[in-house]
Symmetry: C2
Amino acid sequence: MNDAVDIDLARLRRSCAQCSLQQLCLPAGIDADELVRLDEIVRRRRTLARGERLFRIGDPLASVFVARDGAFKTVSISEDGEEQVIGFHLAGELIGLDALGEGAHRCEAVALETANVCDVPLDELSAVAAQLPSLQQQLLRVIGHSLNRDHDHMEMLVRRQANERIALFLHGLGERYRQIGQSPSALRLPMSREDVARFLGLALETVSRGFTRLQEDGVIAVHGRRVEILDLDLLERLAHGAESGDPKRQRSAS
Amino acid sequence: MNDAVDIDLARLRRSCAQCSLQQLCLPAGIDADELVRLDEIVRRRRTLARGERLFRIGDPLASVFVARDGAFKTVSISEDGEEQVIGFHLAGELIGLDALGEGAHRCEAVALETANVCDVPLDELSAVAAQLPSLQQQLLRVIGHSLNRDHDHMEMLVRRQANERIALFLHGLGERYRQIGQSPSALRLPMSREDVARFLGLALETVSRGFTRLQEDGVIAVHGRRVEILDLDLLERLAHGAESGDPKRQRSAS
DNA sequence: CGTTCCATTGAATTGCGTCAATATGTGTGG
DNA sequence: CCACACATATTGACGCAATTCAATGGAACG
């Protein structure tokens, strides 16, 4: 008898208005009735299992995606068949912008764990954005954040020592978890050491050794993919080039 | 007496409709009367001398810029004061997107030689784009190209040998020059070896040695900042991981 | 309880960074 | 036009950080 009610409830629960990511995702800064219009085009939502692909290299650009939960990696394949990890995508982050330039994807997006995504048809999004300046602005802002993450990534890769990159990686990941309301210090890494290595431009053994070293210095505690940040201050200093030769750092903030 | 005519001519010559970059820049795919509207907001054009900055870190985002000629680098400054070269920008390429995320620039844009730029106020651009779907689409495409260049850059930095990166860099630069109608093989590098090094994540001595090596192998001819690509095929193969131990490569395309 | 995948640890090699000297080029003023 | 100084580029020698190869350890799965 209350089928209709059930459907409405289910529908509502999955709407942008109810989404925990509202303030991070496209709806940010949009008022209630505008939200309805955005919500109408964000109908399709998909669940992906670990290892499933959201899109593949060469797929034409149809939609951009927003991770609701779970995590993705985007990888490009070099001519010798090696995977390069271009980026990791957590909840609230846009996926699929790599096809904006040519209209076809240059990367594949792989779910690192069970994940939900919103599928946002790009042409409809553009149409609505054209009528809602605040949405257009927010779209550019979200694209900008994606650009910023790429730049952070490049800065990691350019002339930083292995241990610095690893510290920077863990610290940045913690920050991103904080933003989506999860613990910034008790991390469960959704990606393998190999993924981390291919992201940081290191050999996987080097990543492993880096984790061990950080643990020995009391900065983090590692249990497989569970990483706890014990000394955020020190982690930050290591990320910014301080050499760790001694568990007790003398140069405190004066 | 013909002052008015002179001004109109000068004005016209600098308009988007007359610009040699038309098909690469924002106007691509826009029809004539739409072009007029775009042209109206792209009034300010600036000339910068070598070393001048288009914007600095922290500057609020007001405009995006398009290089008309000349070249720029965008650099970020790490906490220890070192410059990181985030990207190089040739004619037709958008500069200033780094501020989209936070509304303030994270990089500085430095002219590598005397350069002209179009200054496009972003709020006016958004307003016009909202009314011209083709312009909005083109804006996204140009942003996408910028993203693609960043990804190419990252792929250079991740687990590639020094010589590979250098070959890839030269090859990519040639391609970009080709796109703007210049010779793809007779290059005059607008940037110093140090800039190249900070872009590729190498020591400047390593870059120098790489150039020398490529010259010894007959791939390029180097005269200071003049670089001529002699064997494009081989350069490409070196860029994709082929080891150069011998000037004569035996493994040809079967 | 075994099999498979993933992570850690060790030992040997090497590519690249660092330091240092020299060479080449570029712009300035005499 | 040359001489000078200064910036930029090349080349050499050496050491070390990170890769590679290889083996072991541990967790997750059926």
